[in-house]
């Protein structure tokens, strides 16, 4: 012993130092790894902020008269330019050599061109002629490989000529489309103030394999001076712009032209008109530089039915006006962006996020044609005998604070809204990346699970630590802690596939239980206290809990026995029917109550364990003192133990909150992951964490969705960080206040 005494200080100091270093290193490692995670998330998120860049890479000489329509190949090696003389010149972009020249119309048919365009969502050259025809020629660039190097061959299909004006007058403005099967439609404003539409349909005989051609024509009065026409890729909607600043809209169905619908875009003449990819948004440029996006919107109440007769062209958003008239608009072939070229400005815009991504001076004066390259990585401008090739770097135009957290008016919607719907099956899908419904879902799930878990966890801990007989306590405590070790995927599976269908038929019973069970317990307690003391004395303190188990079981049985009569009385004998009638809420099988139960089950043991420790750690001298001064057990617990343990209980609740916010598998499996914003307990929600888990495998690396999911992760990180910090601060303060006790 004396020997030990000599050595202890040295040994103790050494051990102390080692422990100090190990603990410090461990703590530092945790801080470093958390910071590392934060830095990693930030690195993935920050490219969202990179601005777009447009640079002129090359200027070439373009022979022949001014080109009115351009089609480029997807590798940006060649461009086909249609000139006013009716010739298509294919130019190699690397050296400016003309590699092919072809007449749009062969010799006897030839005619000078009036107007030229590339129809939306196509690689087609189209033109109107001086003798009243519209000519459409699809252009394809086929890629073959010689060894490993790529050889691009331009192929111009046999043009389709449709006779629009039977009087053979020059056509001023026109629109055209052709599909892969050769079905073509052309529309033009004629000199006599009508709109003519000609459709060529190809029908294939299934037996012989022969195709037959048929042509229909229709016309309608259009008492406007039409400057521009554009036809969507489905060949069903024709839009026009006029000199008086009106936007016109016709539907073409089964050879008929619907009644015209006109909306005013102000007095300034419309000088440019085009459709964004998908054909649902119309971009309008005007003489005074105004640039706006229009969509068909139904104003008839609930139904957002754009096809219904009540749909009207509506001005959705305005971009900052250009300093001069807008002359050309080129939509992106990949997403909802577009380029607008005016007399004095070239701008890059994005419709959904309402962003002006870049503006600059036009690369050449007197531009006559503008096209975005097929992969949306560049653009070509032709004018005054020259051709400019632009590089566009525009990684994430979809993201602004408004698109992430605010309401956005999407295509096909009746009003601006918060929507999460990130992917579609095709490129013309407009991604809807609002994080608001996901944040809402996270809070909703947390609310419903804590609604169950806090009372049960905290009061359970209070009872177990303060009242329960130590014999039972020794089994109850580990049992509850075992609950925490249940994998959440198992809980989620049980909740989604076993619990949800059962709850669907037991909602009235559950509602009954919420009111009846506490009442039954109170009644039983009151009855117990009225029993003779001698009888009660036979049971050791704390064993009466077993009696309550019987009471609870009985209560539950009664609730479900009374369920049908109760449902009959209160809910017209069908709860879900009643819910829909009375509140307009549809009952969903995978709903917040189910998740609340399952997630509550996962959170209870966490809250219980920490709260129980907090209760147990209240100094026994305080309890003893209180009891000695004549307070009974209940008074001691509520007035002495509870306030003293409150910092611990608070952190128990906060840790439970953190767990519920971050919980993934239970919500993923037990809800339908429906991104709705509604506090209704009988429908589902989609949380940030479940959303990340669902969508990260499909998100292309480095794309906007991928980075947005990381942004959601950052949001979760910040959320839990803030909650935990606030919780810690509050806990410290409470602890100081009660440390004097």
């Amino acid at each position: 012993m004396s020997n030990g005494n000599d050595q202890t200080p040295w040994r103790r100091r050494a051990a102390d130092r080692v422990a100090h270093w190990v603990v410090s290193a461990g703590g530092l490692a945790i801080i470093v790894s958390i910071l590392g995670i934060l830095v990693f998330i930030l690195i993935e998120v920050w490219p969202l902020l990179i601005p777009a860049r447009v640079t002129v890479t090359r200027q070439l000489v373009l022979p022949g008269p001014a080109a009115g329509a351009l089609v480029a190949d997807e590798h940006r090696t060649h461009v086909a330019a249609l000139g006013r003389d009716g010739r298509i010149r294919v130019v190699r972009l690397s050296d400016g050599r003309v590699v092919a020249i072809q007449d749009l119309l062969a010799a006897p048919e030839r005619s000078e061109l009036v107007d030229m365009q590339v129809p939306p969502e196509s690689t087609t050259l189209a033109a109107s002629t001086r003798d009243g025809r519209v000519v459409i020629a699809p252009v394809a660039f086929t890629v073959t490989f010689a060894g490993q190097s790529r050889v691009v061959t331009p192929e111009i299909a046999t043009p389709v000529a449709l006779e629009l004006d039977l009087e053979r007058q020059p056509l001023q403005s026109f629109a055209a489309q052709i599909d892969g099967d050769g079905n073509a439609t052309a529309a033009a404003a004629l000199a006599d103030g009508t709109i003519a539409v000609v459709r060529r349909s190809m029908t294939e005989n299934e037996m012989t394999g022969e195709t037959t051609e048929s042509t229909e024509r229709a016309s309608a009065q259009a008492p406007y001076r039409i400057t521009h026409l554009v036809l969507d890729a489905s060949q069903q909607n024709l839009y026009g712009g006029t000199e008086g600043g009106e936007i016109l809209w016709w539907r073409l169905q089964e050879g008929q032209i619907s009644e015209m619908q006109a909306s005013s875009a102000g007095r300034s003449p419309i000088t440019a008109l085009n459709l964004l990819i998908g054909g649902r948004s119309l971009v309008v440029g005007q003489q005074d530089g105004a640039l706006s996006v229009w969509m068909p919107v139904s104003h008839g109440g609930e139904a957002d039915d754009e096809q219904s007769a009540s749909a009207r062209m509506t001005r959705i958003r305005d971009f900052p006006a250009q300093p001069g008239a807008v002359r050309l608009i080129a939509p992106s072939p990949r997403r909802k962006g577009f380029l607008a070229l005016g007399d004095r400005q070239l701008g890059l815009y994005y419709s959904t996020s309402h962003r002006t991504l870049w503006t600059g001076t036009p690369p050449l004066a007197g531009a006559s044609a503008l096209v975005a390259t097929p992969k949306d990585d560049g653009a070509l401008v032709a004018g005054s005998g020259r051709l400019a090739s632009l590089d566009i770097r525009n990684p994430h135009p979809e993201i602004t604070l408004q698109t992430l957290f605010g309401k956005v008016w999407y295509e096909g919607y009746g009003r601006p809204d918060y929507v999460w719907q990130s992917t579609g099956g095709s490129d013309d899908f407009e991604p809807k990346l609002s994080l608001t419904p996901l944040l809402f879902g996270t809070l909703k799930g947390t609310f419903y699970s804590l609604f169950l878990a806090i009372p049960l966890g905290v009061f359970g801990a209070m009872y177990v630590s303060q009242f329960m007989h130590p014999v039972y306590k020794r089994t109850v405590k580990p049992l509850v802690e075992i609950m925490a070790s249940l994998p959440s995927v198992v809980l989620g599976f049980l909740a989604g596939l076993w619990l949800a269908p059962r709850i669907e038929h037991a909602v009235p019973g559950l509602i009954l239980a919420v009111f009846l069970l506490p009442l039954a317990v109170l009644l039983a307690g009151w009855g117990w206290s009225k029993l003779p003391r001698a009888f009660r004395g036979r049971f050791p303190l704390g064993t009466e809990a077993l009696g309550f188990v019987v009471v609870l079981a009985l209560g539950i049985w009664v609730c479900f026995a009374l369920e049908r009569p109760f449902e009959h009385l209160a809910f017209d004998s069908n709860f879900q029917h009643w819910l829909l009638q009375a509140t307009g809420l549809a009952y969903d099988q995978r709903n917040a109550v189910v998740v609340g139960l399952a997630m509550g089950f996962a959170v209870i043991p966490i809250i219980f364990a920490i709260a129980e420790d907090a209760f147990t750690n209240v100094p026994s001298n305080l309890v003893a003192g209180s009891l000695a001064l004549g307070a009974d057990r209940w008074q001691t617990v509520t007035r002495v133990v509870l306030p003293t343990a409150s910092p611990g209980i608070f952190s128990a609740v906060m840790v439970g909150f953190g767990r519920a916010v971050g919980e993934t598998m239970i919500v993923l499996m037990a809800t339908g992951n429906t991104p709705i914003m509604d506090w209704d307990p009988f429908n589902g929600f989609r949380t940030l964490s479940a959303n990340i888990a669902v969508e990260i495998p499909e998100a292309p690396h480095g794309e906007t969705l991928y980075r947005t999911l990381f942004l959601a992760a950052l949001l979760l990180f910040v959320l839990t960080f803030v909650v935990n910090t606030v919780a810690e601060l509050v806990r410290q303060r409470l602890r100081e206040r009660f440390s004097q006790l």
Binding site: F145, Q148, G278, Q307, Y413, G425, E698
Partner: protein, 322 residues
């Protein structure tokens, strides 16, 4: 005792019929050649992609491994959208997809390899709209389907929220419970494009991680409706007859109508491979695709409840491997 036995065997028979819907009616085209085994095929291969094709891929891999015991194939099926990233990064050699690649996905591939990925059509699927087996509903038009599943009703129908509006008078105002696929799924994209006219899904559609869980959801939810490939049909659900539009004839999912293109939601299933131009395909991948396109491989398609390719399509696809 006897009675219960009978009921049991009936249910069993129904289940068997359900899982092999086309087994009696469909014969694989006799022109499709049986698989000819070659030598020297061994190694590891992995497949990442469509959930619809997951069972098929597993069956094909099993059959292939019987031919070549030294081959190991790993199969993962979370959704078609997971195929392109895996194919691009080289973590998989086979990319099963239930839709064609989007242009943006092809761009990514081309950016890395300089050429486009090669799609091989391997089977025909009919996307069915399922309701619970106790649902009296028999048929819907695609406009009604759009009204049930979509927000904007881009196909021109009306909003349908209750079974009464969908034509089940007995269930009057009971709300329709919607089941769908997660957005990674090709089925999700295909359904959006062809049944919803590219409109958006309602927020109320419960997104399920796989075709089987859509079926499971509808089986457990009497008021449920969902969509999945025909290969996942079970006895707990009922596929509806569909019509392309109001007034058009209704078609069940039967082989003649699917082959004739009359059933409105039929589609090809694909396996995408990384084939450099003018270079032979990796022998392991080539042999697997050959096996898939052989008589044996197409019989597996029938066994799994999908439709086999016809001979001319099969030949076209085989030609792509050269």
């Amino acid at each position: 005792m006897k009675l219960t036995f009978k009921v049991g065997s009936l249910a069993l028979a129904a289940a068997l019929c359900g899982s092999t819907l086309f087994a009696q009616a469909v014969k694989v085209d006799a022109g499709i050649q049986p698989y000819a085994k070659t030598s020297g095929v061994s190694g590891n291969m992995s497949s990442v992609g469509s959930d619809t094709l997951n069972n098929l891929m597993t069956l094909w891999a099993e059959g292939f491994q019987k031919q070549y015991p030294n081959v190991r194939i790993q199969i993962e099926g979370k959704g078609s959208s997971t195929a392109p990233p895996a194919l691009i990064s080289g973590t998989s050699q086979l990319g099963p997809m239930s839709r064609t690649m989007k242009d943006s996905e092809i761009d990514e591939f081309e950016k890395k390899y300089g050429y486009k990925p090669t799609p091989v059509r391997v089977a025909i699927d009919a996307l069915a709209v399922y309701v619970n087996k106790d649902n009296p509903l028999e048929q819907l038009t695609l406009q009604q389907v759009d009204g049930i599943f979509s927000k904007g009703h881009a196909c021109g129908g009306k909003a349908i929220a209750t079974w009464g509006q969908a034509g089940v008078q007995a269930w009057g105002s009971h709300p329709i419970s919607l089941y769908g696929r997660n957005s990674a799924s090709g089925t999700y994209g295909f359904f959006k494009e062809h049944a919803l006219c590219k409109g958006d899904y309602k927020d109320m559609v419960k997104e399920q991680p796989g075709s089987a869980s859509v079926i499971q959801g509808v089986t457990e939810d009497q008021y449920g409706i969902g969509y999945s490939g025909i290969g996942y049909r079970t006895s707990g659900v009922k596929p509806l007859k569909l019509a392309a539009k109001a007034g058009a004839p209704f078609f069940t999912v039967n082989p003649e109508d699917v082959y004739a293109g009359k059933y409105p939601l039929s589609r090809f299933l694909y396996i995408y491979v990384n084939k450099a131009p003018n270079k032979p395909l990796d022998p392991l991948v080539r042999e697997l695709i050959k096996y898939v396109l052989s008589q044996e491989g197409q019989q597996i398609v029938v066994k799994d409840g999908f439709l086999p390719l016809r001979n001319n399509t099969d030949q076209e696809e085989l030609a792509k491997l050269k």
